[in-house]
Amino acid sequence: MAADEPFQVLARELSTSADTAAGLLEALIAAVSLPDIPPDVAEVRIMSLHKSRVLVRQS
């Protein structure tokens, strides 16, 4: 697996703040499951038409 695989990055990030394995699991599930797109970003966003509907709804 490449060094910057999304799950690895996520797990690393979240494991620093998780107090318990259950806490890490909860944070991971939230991070991979929620279809929302954060409104404050600093990058070009690449997504499907369906996903972009979230942006319309947020605008």
Partner: protein
């Protein structure tokens, strides 16, 4: 702030905010200011004494609900801070977690991740068609078997569907899990079968955004929340994109005939887009079938906008061309990366663009949902963590036992499940007994070998001591560095 401050009494927003009719249908195109109109409506309700906790705004996403929360605070009317926006799924999940509802349904609302559905597809009886056919039937089940707008959500209407539902629910019940898509049908049935359920009279005012994306079961849940409540729906049948979950634009088109009396509102001035984009949109949506005739009105002040059609010989050329275009926008025309959106029809198109942008040091992010959990190694890590947290997590154990096999070892696993159901024992305990030689079940040796590996890993993680060490090990192993 008075709800009607600076509002033209002839404007659609005024009409929406002031309407006293029990049902209101707002057809609003993109960028027409429907959120503004809804906020004014809520402000009027509060100013006229409505209980904020009995006002329910239903949004499409959690972020939209949070945005709404912030916007409600901005209207500055006493009580606005107590309005809680919610997605329909979140609201239904909260209802399902109530003990009385759980008791009534006999199910455990442990949701399945998308990848965890895979073994279910192999475990279902083969007479329900191939894997794709079973998947499609699961989606129909999730729509409470209302595949078409004129069908009534509820129970399976033919023997095949009924048998499929029996097999599916038996699997989910045994594995103590729930499909995300089951949440709505279960709440629908709970509310429909329990006319005295307190959840049916929690609200006096319900507002639903993006109504055209609700399928018939979701529309039914909204109606059941509105036993005596006022209902204001907002949407645009021209923007219906969710046919794959059996959402149908007919729902919003027929609202006025299924909910009487309904006051109709329409907002058609597009304030967001350049005029040429609005013209193109009008031209495109005119091809929609059975639509109500209307045209978005462009705002000349927005200017015509720039539109270019470019074609490339190969996907690689296209990625380079788009990245060059974006680089020009960022480097020479003063646009910030966050102002740029790339719509790609699939991940295999989006990834080369992402790579090309990265090569030009332009920050970019792909939002394809399967991103973090798209590879099997990540799925395995998450499943292992689930078992570390709860060794009796039957869904995670089932997935891990089948992982690495073309058919998820469904044949051997069927024997394990049969044994569990006959003896009332749990899969983890049965696998332990098999691994320790205390139990013999024919044709399960592959599963037992696999289980020993899973058990060893969980044991190692458990012996890591501190929780932080467990977390670190899971994160570290996610990189494949064992």
């Amino acid at each position: 702030m008075p709800w009607d401050r600076d509002l033209d009494p002839k404007s659609p927003a005024y009409g929406i905010a002031s309407s006293q009719t029990r049902f209101n249908r707002v057809v609003a195109g993109p960028g027409t200011g429907k959120s503004f109109a809804l906020k004014r409506r809520v402000a009027r309700l509060l100013e006229q004494g409505a209980d904020p906790e009995r006002i329910l705004p239903v949004t499409f996403t959690n972020v939209a609900a949070e945005d709404l929360q912030r916007e409600m605070l901005q209207i500055g009317v006493p009580g606005c801070e107590n309005i809680r926006g919610s997605t329909l799924h979140s609201l239904c999940m909260r209802i399902l977690r109530r003990q009385s509802v759980l008791d009534a349904l006999g199910r455990i609302p442990r949701p399945l991740n998308k990848f965890e559905i895979e073994p279910l597809l192999y475990d279902l009886p083969k007479n329900f068609g191939d894997k794709r056919g079973r998947n499609k039937r699961i989606r129909a089940y999730e729509a409470a078997w209302a595949r078409l707008q004129h069908e009534t959500p509820g129970y399976a209407q033919n023997p095949d569907d009924a048998a499929f539902e029996d097999a599916l629910v038996a699997w989910l019940t045994f594995h103590e899990g729930m499909l995300i898509g089951e949440i709505i049908p279960y709440v629908y049935r709970y509310l429909k079968d329990n006319p005295a359920a307190p959840e049916r009279s929690l609200y006096d005012y319900v507002l639903v955004d993006e109504y055209q994306d609700l399928n018939k079961a979701e529309q039914g849940v909204v109606d059941l929340f509105c036993d005596a409540a006022n209902l204001c729906i907002v949407g645009d049948d021209d923007q219906s994109l969710y046919s794959f979950k059996f959402a149908h634009p007919v729902g919003i088109r027929e609202f006025s005939t299924t909910h009487r009396p309904t006051t109709e509102h329409q907002i058609i001035e597009c304030r967001r887009c350049p005029t040429r984009v609005v013209q193109m949109a009008n031209s495109l949506i005119a091809h929609n079938r059975d639509r109500e005739p209307r045209q978005l009105t462009p705002m000349p002040a927005n200017g015509p906008g720039n539109i270019a059609i470019k074609q490339y010989q190969t996907l690689e050329d296209e990625a380079v061309g788009i990245a060059d275009l974006i680089a020009d926008l960022v480097d020479n025309q003063g646009y910030a990366p966050e102002e740029i959106l790339v719509l790609a029809q699939r991940r295999s198109v989006g990834n080369p663009i992402h790579d090309a942008l990265t090569g030009r040091n332009i920050p970019s992010k792909s939002y394809y949902q399967e991103g973090a959990l798209e590879n099997h190694s990540a799925q395995e890590r998450l499943a292992i963590l689930k078992l570390v947290v709860n060794p009796q997590d039957r869904i995670a154990l089932r997935w891990l036992l089948g992982f690495g096999s073309g058919d998820f070892r469904s044949g051997g696993y069927a024997r394990i499940r049969t044994h569990c159901e006959r003896t009332g024992t749990r899969p983890w305990d049965v696998m332990n007994a098999l691994a320790d030689g205390a139990l013999q079940i024919p044709h399960t040796h592959h599963l037992v070998a696999r289980f020993k590996g899973i058990r060893n890993e969980i044991s190692e993680l458990g012996q890591a001591g501190k929780c932080s060490a467990v977390c670190g090990a899971v994160a570290w192993r996610a990189s494949g560095c064992r």
